[in-house]
Symmetry: C2
Subunit: 380 residues, 2 copies
């Protein structure tokens, strides 16, 4: 992956090439061994006036004429691209596939970014009426506080923990430790969410190489990471249409399917990269994924149960909050972090004896959730 | 599918529901039998300020929580969505999948549409410098005329034939027969391409239901259409980077793969829906697909060899030219036409003894080509 951040001197295309070339080098293959590409990008049409991102990636990487397909599912675009790459190998069409995610967000005004991101929700019923994403997640936070007694300090604890993890991730946007007091003193963006509850606007790209299982085990017996489960679910675009504002049904459904596929339970997972676009989203995720009971996520965060090498290590990369959130790249970055952890290469933020990792990538306010469970391939 | 045209009183969402509901009814299933959705849409972010089209489709159709994924490959978005649906069934993940394509283009200014469509090509090297799509295809036409002696009248013959076919397609945007003289007298858009060489701006949606082969043969022994081949290839985004301006390498590569998969040759195909965004594109397509020798496409068109029930029936739907071109929907509409023809349901434009149909869907100026070959399932 590229470093995540404000890359005023790197274009969309340059970031694609940097992440793609690093992934190919890491896999120890030649570009010509790739048989297809899947790319996740959410809002390139509005942010850089460019669609047809699949072809762009193959072109910039010098990979034509292999097929190259863009997938879009708002902030879950990267995770969905990974899933399509996975399914394409499962179909037998290909053996070796590259999956990339990329977004270039800092070349347009903050207003234009807000409008582009609003396209992840229900344009007609939410954005048109002024409900930007911080407002939508603020509604969820307020309701979670009312129903379960979750506090602003408990939400702040997620941000503090993610900034602490990011201190040890050289690819993270922020290398700045923060305190609960820092979060509580930061200005309200949409009450009760404050500046330091919100993930930032970020440029960045991430890429991975997928390979059919038997081939991967032969080529990389100690390095390969196995995909044990892949699942995806949907929900209404608009928050107002849902039965609950404090749980994401798409996450719950995808989790049930993923754990069944992997024949694992939440207790078997050592680390999870979850979609903390706002701190309340991390609290809801760790509940909906079954790591903690519904309503107990805030207390668990405040008690340190999601810190590095605690009960479960959540967002060791720094999460969207501190590693940054280039929307189309985030889902692929989660997979990259899972791989590094399962290989024991996450220096300074390594989870001890990491055997199973989970990634949970959300689009919009929960209308898409895509999930994967990974295992170190050298273990039985 | 919806009728293609200028639907000032139907929204993007309404068109999704109309096409989706018709496809479900045609398949004789219940919506709850669907296990996943794939949707093709190119430029919804710019045209209706809405991304996350996969979730939108599932939401509008009342299909949540099943997975729903948007694919984007410019004007090949529909074809690529169909291919991803096909691969997802081949992977074993699903048995019954809906594939839709949709675009709502007439709610913004012509300038905004031109900029949105420009995102299909190379924004930095083409659109930024003023090369809109008619200009790019005009360069190809001029070169084809120089190398092979193709004439403006030969190109016009494609438009005349496609308008004649559209007279019998109730879903077509135009029901207006035109003559060679009409085309020749229409104003230049980008010389040598005239108004009647160009496909129009269109609203519309199309949808199909895909089902695992054995299940389809059991459920619909006489109605099901079999997918014999699916292929996709890429090329450089920018025309200037290619070796040839008179052939699309992505089409040639995809055709080679598709015919090999289907164990068929061009002579075995009775009808083809090809991507005639401009008349010159149809001439290049029938050459690159192997129906005619390179350089002989113009003469073949003028000689009537691509007319209904001639040597090969090309664009019986009316093609992009006369059926209309809602970009994300076009690739799925091609599949719909192929199905109707192979079932013998294309009243007034029916190809006699149609056994094999081919669809060729192009993104941009040829940076993506996705192709499918279909067979009537009740024949051995």
């Amino acid at each position: 992956m590229t470093k995540f951040g404000e890359h005023w001197e790197a274009s969309f295309r340059e970031m694609v090439v940097e992440a793609g070339a690093k992934a190919i080098a890491d896999a120890g293959i030649e570009g010509r061994e790739l048989q297809a590409v899947y790319g996740g990008s959410m809002a390139s049409g509005r942010l850089i006036s460019q669609e047809h991102i699949g072809a762009l990636i193959a072109d910039q990487m010098g990979l034509a004429p292999i097929p190259s397909t863009r997938c879009e599912a708002a902030c879950a675009s990267g995770g969905v691209a990974f899933r399509e790459g996975y399914l394409s190998i499962a179909s037998g069409a290909y053996d070796v596939v590259a999956v990339g995610g990329v977004e270039k967000m800092t070349d347009v005004s903050a207003e234009d970014v807000a409008i582009a991101l609003g396209g992840a929700g229900d344009q007609e019923w939410e954005l048109f009426n002024g409900a930007t994403f911080p407002a939508i997640y603020a509604l969820m936070a307020r309701r979670h506080m009312k129903e379960y007694g979750t506090t602003e300090e408990q939400m702040a604890a997620c941000a503090v923990k993610n900034h602490a993890n990011a201190m040890h991730n050289p690819y993270a946007q922020y290398h700045k430790a923060i305190t609960i007091e820092d979060v509580m003193k930061s200005g309200y963006i949409s009450e009760p969410l404050k500046l330091l509850d919100c993930s930032p606007i970020t440029d960045g790209a991430a890429a991975v190489i997928l390979c059919a299982t038997e081939k991967a085990k032969k080529l990389y017996p100690e390095k390969a990471v196995e995909v044990l489960a892949s699942s995806q679910a949907s929900d209404t675009l608009a928050l107002a249409s849902r039965q609950s504002m404090t749980a994401m049904n798409a996450t719950a459904v995808a989790a049930q399917q993923a754990f069944a596929q992997a024949k694992l339970a939440p207790k078997d997972i050592q680390l999870a990269e979850v979609h903390d676009c706002f701190t309340i989203a991390e609290i809801m995720a760790i509940e909906d994924l079954g790591f903690f009971k519904k309503g107990a996520g805030g207390k668990a965060a405040a008690d340190g149960e999601t810190a590095l090498n605690a009960k479960i290590s959540v967002n060791t990369s720094g999460g969207l909050k501190a590693c940054g959130h280039p929307v189309g790249a985030t889902g692929v970055k989660q997979v990259v972090e899972a791989c590094w952890q399962l290989r024991g290469e996450a220096k300074g933020r390594q989870v001890d004896d990491a055997e199973h990792a989970l990634t949970q990538n959300v689009g919009g306010s929960g209308a898409t959730c895509v999930m994967h469970i990974f295992k170190r391939a050298d273990r039985k």
